[in-house]
């Protein structure tokens, strides 16, 4: 039985979140987002001309996401450079953000999003999506809504919000299942749902409900962060 979380949180409690906008002055838009000690920064450049030319789309603008974990972000040094994992996360982040964007009028251009994970303790892709969504809004890219993401886990038979590394590695009972998911803020649509492990369809529905609730809280923080820019 899984009764207590290693960091003493409640089962539906998110780690302490931190969000800040404008952390990279050189970029058109940038943001930092942290779930506890998982920290991601995102910077947005563009829309700008896309090179090489064969990647250009004459019908609509292109979104290009690059996710990277810095070599000092994990206890064991990560070899720098793209990996199979980072390529996959870049792609799913792109798909998670695209439904919220309105870049069809920027033909032949690209919006570049660079996500760097400064410190990793699970849910890095969710922190990355949250940061990227803030950064895109900050860069003035036309969007219909914001995107919020959270990772929901099933540990043994308990639904748990915002996993940490220790919980991801839980082995007893049914083991651990990690489900990162992203929601669009207004329409409530799901733009990312990945599943790593085993789960029954009933439990999955429960997990999605928990994710929806958690994402509302994240959205409130994102909104607050953007509205506070003026006071700086």
């Amino acid at each position: 039985m899984y009764t207590k979380r290693p960091d003493g949180r409640k089962f539906d409690e998110i780690r302490e979140m931190k969000a800040k906008v404008g952390v990279v002055p050189r970029a058109n838009g940038s943001a930092l987002f942290a779930f506890g000690d998982t920290i991601a920064i995102a910077s947005v450049y563009g829309p700008r001309p896309l090179h090489p030319q064969h990647l250009q789309n004459p019908e609509k603008g292109v979104l290009r996401v690059n996710y990277d974990m810095l070599s000092f972000s994990v206890p064991e040094r990560k070899k720098p450079g793209p990996t199979r994992r980072s390529q996959e996360i870049s792609k799913v982040t792109e798909w998670a953000l695209l439904p919220a964007l309105q870049i069809k009028n920027f033909q032949n251009t690209v919006v570049d999003v660079h996500i760097a994970v400064l410190q990793a303790n699970a849910s890095t892709r969710c922190a990355g999506i949250n940061a990227a969504s803030l950064a895109l809004a900050h860069a003035g890219v036309p969007m219909t809504e914001l995107v919020s993401a959270v990772s929901i886990g099933k540990i043994d038979d308990k639904i748990v919000v915002d996993l940490i590394k220790e919980e991801e590695d839980h082995k007893e009972g049914e083991g651990s299942t990690d489900i990162p998911m992203a929601f669009l803020s207004e329409s409530g649509k799901i733009s990312l749902l990945q599943l790593d492990g085993k789960i029954s369809s009933k439990k999955l529905k429960e997990a999605i409900e928990a994710g929806k609730k958690a994402c509302k809280k994240i959205y409130e923080l994102q909104k607050k962060t953007l509205k506070e820019i003026r006071e700086e």
């Binding site: 058109n28 838009g29 563009g46 829309p47 700008r48 001309p49 004459p58 919220a100 309105q102 920027f106 033909q107 032949n108 251009t109 809004a137 900050h138 860069a139 003035g140 890219v141 036309p142 969007m143 219909t144 809504e145 914001l146 803020s185 207004e186 994102q222 909104k223 953007l226 509205k227 820019i229 003026r230």
Partner: protein
């Protein structure tokens, strides 16, 4: 009398209603509003399509962007850099999503068709006017007063959304800065500013003033504040000179 009162009231109402909105947020839910720039109508409510200040002037609701890349409009004066020369014109980088094109026919000077670089060479900074914006590509012209190549001076870059604050009402702010720093200044709508003064010190002083304005852009009555700032920094400079 009644009319003027009415006017001040509407002005007040406008000021109260300008607040920051995030994408997807409902700005107005009453039926009698119309969607303006960067907004859309969904049912009875008006939804923000980008991050910025919501402005309700009359029935029209629009968003004034606070950030983001420069989008060229017809008639804008911009400052750009020549990045390439083709057989019939120059390609100019004006810090917008698309590169701009300046055709030979829109150059004010006589151009030797065999060597376009005699007129504008790669790397030159030029002031130009946006002639028209097509679906893809921007056309420029340098025909007109004060347009053409910029020599000497320095170029700084600011957020293009803050250009209206740097210029001020009917140019009040920019004229103040010009007067106080004794510099020639050209502000491009794309956020590129060219400064030329008698000495480097003057240019740096003008740059400092412009950066002050962009940092404090959300304050009301900014021209007055800038005047105060000029007096303060002038005193400082005098003190420094005396000490030396």
């Amino acid at each position: 009398m009644a009319k003027s009162q009415n006017k001040t009231e509407t002005k007040k109402a406008q000021k109260e209603k300008r607040e920051i909105v995030v994408p997807g947020e409902k700005i107005a839910s009453e039926e009698d509003y119309l969607p303006g720039e960067w907004t859309k109508k969904e049912g009875n409510s008006i939804i923000a399509l980008r991050f910025g200040l919501a402005d309700k002037s009359g029935r029209l609701v629009k968003i004034i962007p606070l950030s983001g890349i420069y989008m060229p409009r017809k008639g804008n004066i911009v400052i750009g850099r020549v990045i390439d020369i083709t057989f019939n014109g120059w390609i100019i980088d004006i810090d917008s999503p698309y590169q701009a094109f300046l055709p030979i026919t829109e150059c004010s000077k006589f151009v030797n068709k065999n060597d376009l670089s005699e007129c504008y060479d790669i790397g030159d900074t030029i002031v130009a006017k946006v002639l028209n914006v097509k679906r893809k590509g921007i056309d420029l012209t340098t025909k007109g007063r004060n347009l053409g190549k910029l020599e000497e001076g320095m170029v700084i870059q600011i957020n293009s959304n803050k250009v209206p604050r740097v210029i001020g009402k009917e140019g009040s702010m920019i004229n103040l800065i010009k007067k106080e720093s004794d510099c020639e200044i050209i502000v491009g709508q794309n956020g590129v500013i060219w400064i030329k003064g008698p000495k480097v010190e003057n240019e740096l002083f003008a740059q400092k003033a412009i950066l002050f304005v962009t940092e404090k852009s959300y304050i009301e009555g900014l021209t007055e504040k800038t005047k105060e700032w000029f007096e303060k920094s002038k005193n400082k400079i005098e003190k420094k000179n005396k000490e030396e």
